[in-house]
Symmetry: C2
Subunit: 210 residues, 2 copies
């Protein structure tokens, strides 16, 4: 594996574990048993590393947020869709932990991140509108607008919320947090669904949280 890639990989891991502001370029170099000078041969500065990591994240997120099919999505689609998004966020969670801090240092990154947020809102709106038109969902235009914003907030901050709540006394493993996040988003949508779809969703949720 090339040194450049090892730096990226190790940075991601350390950032996720300890938070980006606490990890210095020296820490990264130490962890890799390379010199700080070597690190600066491969990257201009710390923000450069972060930018590269962000681009990886953005590519995966763009892929995850696509709604490829033309048909109206069903509940299983939504489940899969959310799961992919949450896994991605989990993989690059350092980003979300210090979001304001990181975005305020880098204008380009801020623009791109905002685009991801808008895309979350738009995709959620499109799916819900599709469900409403198909007669599966019962919601007005305003309902859907508010719902889509709430979906985006939960999808963005759920892991942060959990990491504050989670206590050492009552540990859960990582995938539990993701599953609960998906469940929380689905429970936002559920009350707007009509009879059968709603029950199907509850069934999936129960299965999922076991």
């Amino acid at each position: 594996m090339k040194t450049r890639d090892r730096i990226l990989q190790t940075s991601l891991q350390l950032f996720n574990e300890h938070g980006e502001p606490r990890i210095t370029t020296n820490h990264i170099a130490d962890e890799l048993d390379i010199s700080p000078g070597n690190l600066y041969y491969h990257f201009r500065n710390k923000d450069d590393i972060i930018w590269l990591l962000f681009q990886q994240f953005e590519r995966q997120m763009d892929a995850a947020l696509q709604v490829p099919e033309r048909r109206v999505p069903n509940m299983e689609d939504m489940w899969l869709y959310l799961h992919l998004a949450f896994e991605n966020i989990w993989e690059y969670r350092f980003f979300y932990r210090d979001l304001d801090n990181i975005l305020s240092r880098n204008k380009k990154l801020r623009t791109h991140f905002r685009r991801i947020i808008e895309r979350k809102v738009n995709t959620a709106t499109a799916i819900c509108t599709g469900l409403a038109e198909a007669g599966i969902m019962n919601a007005t235009h305003d309902d859907i607008a508010a719902l889509a914003r709430n979906i985006a907030v939960i999808a963005t901050y759920w892991l942060n919320f959990q990491s504050i709540r989670a206590s050492a006394a009552n540990p859960r493993n990582d995938s539990d947090h993701l599953a609960l996040g998906v469940y929380q988003v689905l429970s936002l949508v559920a009350p707007f669904l009509k009879g059968e779809a709603r029950e199907l969703l509850q069934q999936i949720s129960r299965e999922y949280l076991k």
Copy 2:
């Protein structure tokens, strides 16, 4: 006004405006036209200032999160309740901007903040259970549990979410952000309400967002 209080006030203002990590003790002293040494006469260190500010916040939040009356809360109660909570968060928003960062530095603060979060969830649960028992709300125990968590997430992170989305091109004033936050939370609750209560809520929301 005592120097000690001026330090607290100015710190809060600078933290809110620029973010706590970017404001040093020197910045605070500069802004007040006092020496750094003077600042350290009044406070042991920066975390001491933050802790004092947190205690102010906690006191106000505890007051806001009380559900004093014994009667079942109506929609206007909820509106008022949420509004107080959001105003409080807005006043100490620096805290929420770099939440993980600040909590990871101070264990005592983490414990207390977690308590506030739990209290948000519990109060939301209590109100919803009250509404359900009064026949105003239609929701199972599990519905309410998920709903209360979502309410807490939106109430905690809405302002962060807005500050990322808000663009310089389309400025809104502060109170608009707060109002929209209250609306977002109410729209979480609305679909579980029965006929009249739901319409009353929509009416309040419309009035509120004008």
